[in-house]
Amino acid sequence: MGKQYETVIGLEVHIELATKTKIFCGCSTAFGGAPNTHTCPVCTGMPGSLPVLNKQVVEYAVGVGLATNCSITQYCKFDRKNYFYPDNPQNYQISQLYLPVCHDGYVEIETEGGVRKVGIHEIHMEEDAGKLIHDDWEDCSLVDYNRSGVPLIEIVSEPDMRSAEEVIAYLEKLRMIVQYLGASDCKLQEGSMRADVNLSVREAGSEKLGTRTEMKNLNSFRAIARAIEGERERQIELLEAGKDVLQETRRWDDAKECSYPMRSKEDAQDYRYFPDPDLVPVYISEEWLEQIKASQPEFRTEKMKRYKEEYDIPDYDIEIITGSKRMADLFEETTALCGQPKKVSNWLMVETLRLLKENGLEPQDIGFSAQHLAALITLVDRKVINSSVAKEVFEVMSREDVDPVKYVEEKGLKTVNDEGALKKTIEEILAANPQSVEDYRNGKEKAIGFLVGQTMKAMKGKADPAGVNALLREALSK
C-alpha cells in the first residue's frame, strides 16, 4: 500500500488594475495600441524622469484589501526590486516589500467539505513590465513599453489550499471581488489576471512543509488545474523514487501538459530591495480610509440577499446572475427599464449563457446593452414579435448591439396580424398537404405540429404560432 500524500498550495495572483492612467505617469493603460505609443520619459526609464503615484491605485488596492478582510498598512512605502532585463526600462521594478499596503486577510471559499478560509498574507502594489517581442526574421528582440508602468496588485495567499478545486474556488472568489469593485476585468487569457502556483507535497499527517516549486505561465483555470495535477504527480514520483524536490521556478507548457525548470534556487537573484527614494511614503489617513470604505460596492452576499427580497426570482437564478458583476449590473439595469425581473432573468439565464458558452466568452464580454434587452422584452410582451423571432433578434443584438425596435422594423419581422392573409395561407397549406390533413382527422394529433410549422415557414416566421394553431384546428374541424 503506497503512502498517502497531501498537496499544499499557495498562490501569487497578479491583477492589472483598471485605472485610466499608469501607476507612476499619465500615460494611458489601454490594451493594444501601436507599440510604444502609450509611453513617456517616466515609463520608458529615461534619465532624469521621476515617478509620481496614481492615487487611484492605492484606492483599488485598499478596496481589495478591505473586501478580503485585510489589515491596511496606513503608512506604506514603495521599494525598488533591482534586476536587469530589457522589458524593465529602469532595470528595477517599483514594488512593495517591506511595508505592503494590505496584510493578514482571508477569503472564504465553498468546497465539498464545506466553507474554508484561505489566508491572504499580503497585497502589494507594483508596476508591470513592458513586452519583449522576438523578431525571427531579423533575429533581434524588440520591446514595447505600452504595458510598462501599468498598475498591478499582487495578492499573496498563505499555503492554505489542498487541491486544484480549492485553488479554482479561491481564484473565482478573488475574481468576483475584484470585478465587483470594478478594479479589474480579471481576464486570464489577456493577462489582466495572472496566477503563479507554489506547490509542495508532504506525507499525509505530516506538519512539516515539503520543498515547494513555483509554477508560471498559467493562462486559464483549466491550465491551472492541470498544472497542479501534473506538478503533484511529478513531486510524488520524485519522493517515491527517493529523490529530492528542488526548489525552483517552473514554466508550464499547457499544450504538452508538462513543466520545465526556469531557474533554480541556486541562481536565484538578489534583488537588493530598498525604499524608492524618488517616492514619498504613502500615508492613508483615517479620513481617506473611511472614504474608501464608504465607496465599497455591494458585494455578492449582500446582493443575493437583496435580490431575494426585491425581485421574485428563484434562488438558482440569483446564484447565477450574481456570479458575475456584469450580469448583475445588466440584470438590475434591464429590470429597472422594463419592470419584469423574471423575464430579464430568463433571457440572461438561458439565451445569454448559451451564446457565451457557444462562443467561449465570459460574462464581461456580453455585447448588448440593458436598454436593448429591455426593448426586446417589451416587443415580445406587446406581441409585436413572437418568441422565436425574438431569439433571432437577440442573437444579432448579442453580436452587434443593434436596437431591436429598429431592427425588427427594417427587417420586417413584425408578427402579421392580418387574419385574412393567414387564413389564405392556411388554405393553401391544407390543400398542399392532404396526407397530413387526413392523418389529423384520423386522430394523429402530431400532424398539427407539422402543419403549424409549414404555415409559419410560409409566413416567414412572422405569425403568432398559437394563433396559427387555433386557426388550423378551426379549418380542420370544418
Binding site: 532624469g48 521621476l50 509620481v52 533591482n82 536587469f84 530589457p86 528595477y92 520591446v143 530591495y273 524618488d278
Partner: protein
Amino acid sequence: MSILDDTAVELSEKIKKGEIKVREAVEAVFAVIDQKEALLNCYVTLEKEKALKRAEEVQAGIDAGELTGPLAGVPFAIKDNLCTEGTLTTCSSKILENFVPTYSAEAVINLEKAGAVIIGKTNMDEFAMGSTTETSYYGVTRNPRNTDHVPGGSSGGSAAAVAAGECFAALGSDTGGSIRQPASYCGVVGMKPTYGTVSRYGLIAYGSSLDQIGPLTKDVRDLATVLETIASYDAKDSTSMKRDTDFTSALVEDVAGMRIGIPRDYFGEGLDPEVKQAVLSAAEVLKAKGAVVEEFDLSLVEYAIPTYYTIAAAEASSNLERFDGVKYGYRTKGVEDLHAMYKKTRSEGFGPEVKRRIMLGSFVLSSGYYDAYYLKALRVKALIKKAFDDAFSKYDMILGPVAPTTAPKLGESLSDPLKMYLGDIYTISVNLAGLPALSVPCGVDQKGLPIGVQLIGDCFQEKKLIRAAYTYECAVKGD
C-alpha cells in the same frame, strides 16, 4: 570696464535699459570662451549657434516688454547632468556620449521662461561622483584661479565657468557638497537649497534622497535671484515642496541679533590653518555687524562620511542601472548574448570611480548586508538630522569651512579616493539632513587659491543664509 565684470543681475538691467544687446552679451562670453576654454575645459558641449539664435528671441521678448525678469538675457551654463531638450546631456560619462534628451529639466525650463540664454553644458565628475571634476570622461577642468589646480567638484565646470567669465551664472547639483566645494575652490558663490526646493525632474540622479539643484554665481544677489527663478513646486517630482521662494527679499544688510553657532568639531584635525583663519575672520566680520557668535559641539561629525557613502552609493547603484546599452547611450559592439552586452557596455561605459560606487552600493544593499549597512546608515542619518535640529534650537545658522583645504593640484586626489572622500566632511552632513547651505568667498591662501565660508541653515531658512551672506559680502566689499 567690460560687461564681463557685471553680475548677472547688472547685465540684465543694462540689457533691459537698451545699453547692450543680448547678442553682444552672448558674443562677449564666447570671446572669453575662445580665449580660455582650450586650457580650462569648463564645457562638455557648447551651443554657440543655438545661443545666438536664442539671444535674438530673448531680445525680441525684452523689446516687446514680455521678458522683464531680473535674469532676462543673461548667458547661463548648465551642469551636464541636467537634461536639456535637443542638447547633448552626458553626465560627463562615455555611457551617455550620444544621449540627446527630448525634454528639459524643470529648473532649466524655469530659467528659460525667465529669459536666460543657455550657452552650453558644463563638465563635471562622471555622474557627479567625485570632488575634483577629474573623473570626467571628457578631460579635466582647470581652476581659473590657478590652472595647476582642480576646480573642485562635482560641479567643477559650472564653478570654473562662472569664475572665468565663460558665463554669467550657472546651475550645478549638490549631493554631498558638489556646488559648495567647487564654489569655494573657484572663489564664487554657490548654494545647495533645502531638499525639495528645486524640482529634480530632469536631473539625472546620483543619490536621489540627497540631490538638489542650485546656483553658482558671481555674488549673493545673483545667487538669490537665480534661486528664486529655479525654485518651484513641481507635481512631476514627488519630493518637491510647496514653500516660500521670495529669496531676493532677504538681500538686506542686517545681521543684528542673529545667532551664529561655530561647531568646534569642524575646526579640529585636518583643517588647513589658512582656511581656519579665513573662516574665523568671516565670523568676526559678522560679529562686528551685530551677530551673536559662539562655539558649540555639533557631534556625530565623524559618522557623516561613512553614512553618506553608504546611502549615496546604494541609491546610485540602482539609479545607474538604466544605463545598460538597450535604450540609449553607448552600446558595446560584437557581443551576442544579452548579459554579455550588459556587462561589456557597462564595463566600457563607466569610469573607475562610478564603478567603485556601484559596487559599494550593490554590496550594502545585498541580501544579508542590508540591515548592517544600509538600514544602519539610515538610522545614523536620522541621528545627524537630530543633532542639527538641536543646534537650530539655539542658533539661526551654523558657520564653518566648506572644505579642509583649498583646491588641490591636478592629479593629487585620484590616487587616494579615501582621502578625497574625507574632503567632503563639512559638506555632506548638510545633504544627509536635507538642509540649505551656501558657500561665499572669504579670502585666499598664500598661493592665491580662494577659500569659502559655509553657512548652514535649518530647513527652509535660506533667507537667513542669504541675509548673512549678503551682509558679509557688502562688508568685505566696503573694505
